[in-house]
Symmetry: C2
Subunit: 507 residues, 2 copies
Amino acid sequence: MSHASLSPELEAVVARAAAAAPAFAATAPEDRARALVAVADALEGAKPRLVEIAARETGLTEARLTGEVTRTAVQLRLFADTVVDGAYLDARIDPADPGFALGARPDLRRTHLPLGPVINFSASNFPFAFSVMGGDSAAILAAGCPLIVKAHSGHPELSDATAEVASTALAAAGMPDGVFQLIHGREAGVAVLQDPRIQAGSFTGSIRVGRLLADIAANRPAPIPFYGELGSVNPVFITADAIAERAEEIARGYLTSVSGSAGQLCTKPGFVFVPEGSALPAAIEAAAADFAAEHRLLDPRIAQSFAERRDAILGTPGVRTIVPGALRFDQDGQGWATPTIAAVPLAGFRAGKAALVEEAFGPLSIVVEVPEGTPLAPLVPEFFEGNLSGTLHLGAAEADGSTPNADELRALVAALARQVGRVLFNGWSTGVAVTPAQQHGGPWPATSNDASTSVGSAAISRFQRPVAYQNAPTTFLPAELRDDNPRGVPQSVSPAGESTAWGARWR
Amino acid sequence: MSHASLSPELEAVVARAAAAAPAFAATAPEDRARALVAVADALEGAKPRLVEIAARETGLTEARLTGEVTRTAVQLRLFADTVVDGAYLDARIDPADPGFALGARPDLRRTHLPLGPVINFSASNFPFAFSVMGGDSAAILAAGCPLIVKAHSGHPELSDATAEVASTALAAAGMPDGVFQLIHGREAGVAVLQDPRIQAGSFTGSIRVGRLLADIAANRPAPIPFYGELGSVNPVFITADAIAERAEEIARGYLTSVSGSAGQLCTKPGFVFVPEGSALPAAIEAAAADFAAEHRLLDPRIAQSFAERRDAILGTPGVRTIVPGALRFDQDGQGWATPTIAAVPLAGFRAGKAALVEEAFGPLSIVVEVPEGTPLAPLVPEFFEGNLSGTLHLGAAEADGSTPNADELRALVAALARQVGRVLFNGWSTGVAVTPAQQHGGPWPATSNDASTSVGSAAISRFQRPVAYQNAPTTFLPAELRDDNPRGVPQSVSPAGESTAWGARWR
């Protein structure tokens, strides 16, 4: 097949990925695990050099970037264990059953296989953890899918340096040629996404670009899944009890969460609902001096967008500042900011909804002051679409569910759970733990596809598909479906004869 | 919110579904199980009346329809047990870990929650099992999502009768008002699919209509998942050994599979690859007299399409008939058919690919005769896109993997597994067992979304989304995530301190 729409260079990239797919799918899980760990070790070995490039290209602090390399290595190592553990295969075995409720049934065994070549579009704000060898890339390689990464234009030199480290490590670990390749440029990324040999896409970035790419994936002659992690404003609700018990602690946690990484995190708490007349604004104001360090924003375009959003918010009727913050541009067009905390009464928030609820990507957050007696749960669907997270800060007695407002709090938690991927209690949504139980997702526009997560080991399921084998001789079965279970993965085996009793206990 | 695009009747339907969502999501799994079993029992209780209507509206035989009601009831009962078993929740618990590799981590617990209101578009060819209370409906209700069914225009009276039986049973079982509603008309279905309160769609039908609906779902202001089970031609490969050992058995199995339900099944074997010069065509011809009963096709439109496809296939150069079959139209425009089996050499199949590989929905199948020495695995991607199934018939020694062609057969199995949802050995793809390990899906155009199955209990995952709770007090946790696990569901609990060892054994 020729693919006229690709340049010769891109055609070679996609052809290599497609050619690598069968061999990569057939690698032993232990070998994929070794390769992922080798990449992790190599990245940590190159840490000083990579962090130096990243700091220069992104303006993020060395402390943050150093931690991010460690996180990236930990992610790769978590996926190494995940691949071998095999729970994600959801291996199911229904032995042949001559007494099946609908007549004799054959032996059926179901597992998950890699999708094939995948393109991952890197993020601007995580130059390691959601970039060339970040979480998506780790999940794609762990799943056994050849990976093409589209570098983010914000850190091209770091992308090339990271790719070289990773390529060397993957080759040394014996992975097939073509399992990992890097490309540059949005047009190149779009062309690859449209190629029929590509079986899925992943992305971390803005709603606007994510929507563009999701539409391209959905409207191909053969549509493919597109896992975009897009925008989120992460509403927070704080009760009067919580503020009465620990206003200063909450204020400092809030400012830490808003100012970290110059607020350029998809999990930054964008809106904090507090009772009207509470002590929290004063506590925030009092703590603000400790969070007044100026940080550079990622690039001039992001800084310009932030300036516009900040002006629009501060210019909305009813909005006042608790912490005014500042934003200046240097001679290179780079923006430098200190945190801004605004406040608005609920009535003003409602009146200014169109101007206020959109994400402000940068160190700014809005406190919404809610009159006593306002039901909280309905505020969630009134103001927000899908979000990555929603948070509730409770007083000690409220956490027991024994206070008079317990039903209202339960309704609020249910309302949040209907619209977000992660519901937090007494914490802050920034800092997303990389673990098996993490869920970093949510309904549109938090993600373009809410069937999985983009952080944590469950992310591997995005890049595999289920396949069943019927009456397969052992020699043709994947190892995880054999009776002797040589890989020792979890297998769910249906008991013989159960079908005739299905549902009987619910009659 | 008003939704100007809906008629008052449809607005009321969608509003009822949306209003029911929180209460339905909060029902105890045992109560949903009882409701599903009550629907199953009620359908079986109404079987004679329903089958009479179905036979009149669809032309399918009473025997087939009676069996289909039983299958529909078994599906509902399987989902009743599935809901309570709770494995589909994939409950994960990461206890708080002060020694986590990236710094102290909070307690994280992940489960799956219902998506909200779902619309299901019924199939024409399964008036019970993939219609008003069919597999998709069972999965949607089991997941805790309010269900709106768009009736298929081929059996409107049956749809109303089934809906009445189901509504009565659901109400008697105490399910909230609005958990199940029926609508008629394609325009109504499209309008509901576009409504922002609808969170997912499912469909069984043609590629053309499925694509139309999938595009609508993907291009909404807030895109939603759309699970369409579309077209499939189900390639079959039969080795020389298999034919030498059991030509007559294979011929009879093939004819049974092609003629059943007048060939109007998405799993009908459309293409059978056999060695050139084999005895199978003669065996098929010899057995054909036992499969010459005339069957009515579902409706005049389907009959007309079948007539056109049949003419196109039989008129393609190189195609001959093994079993000529027949097709006639009665005075009502209904088509009546007997099975047609055609044959074509591989060279002719290749030359006539454009005319031949498209699905012929009805009792027709094509034998492709492959010259000795032709590698089989490359034929799969050469001729086919995604399919629901792929089949291999082997000789006894070949099943041991000990014959000289073992590597070639393994390559063929791998090629099929890359493109189909179910790989069968020594069987026929029609007759899809309803079990936990079934996989009825496959890459486009077998489905519009290959992340799950449309038959079997794993289908429930299509209608739920993952949600994590961070540091949640017990009183705010779903039961399946509590330490005391009152529902007794499978929980996967991460060992404390494991993170510092992640990947270590792969170094």
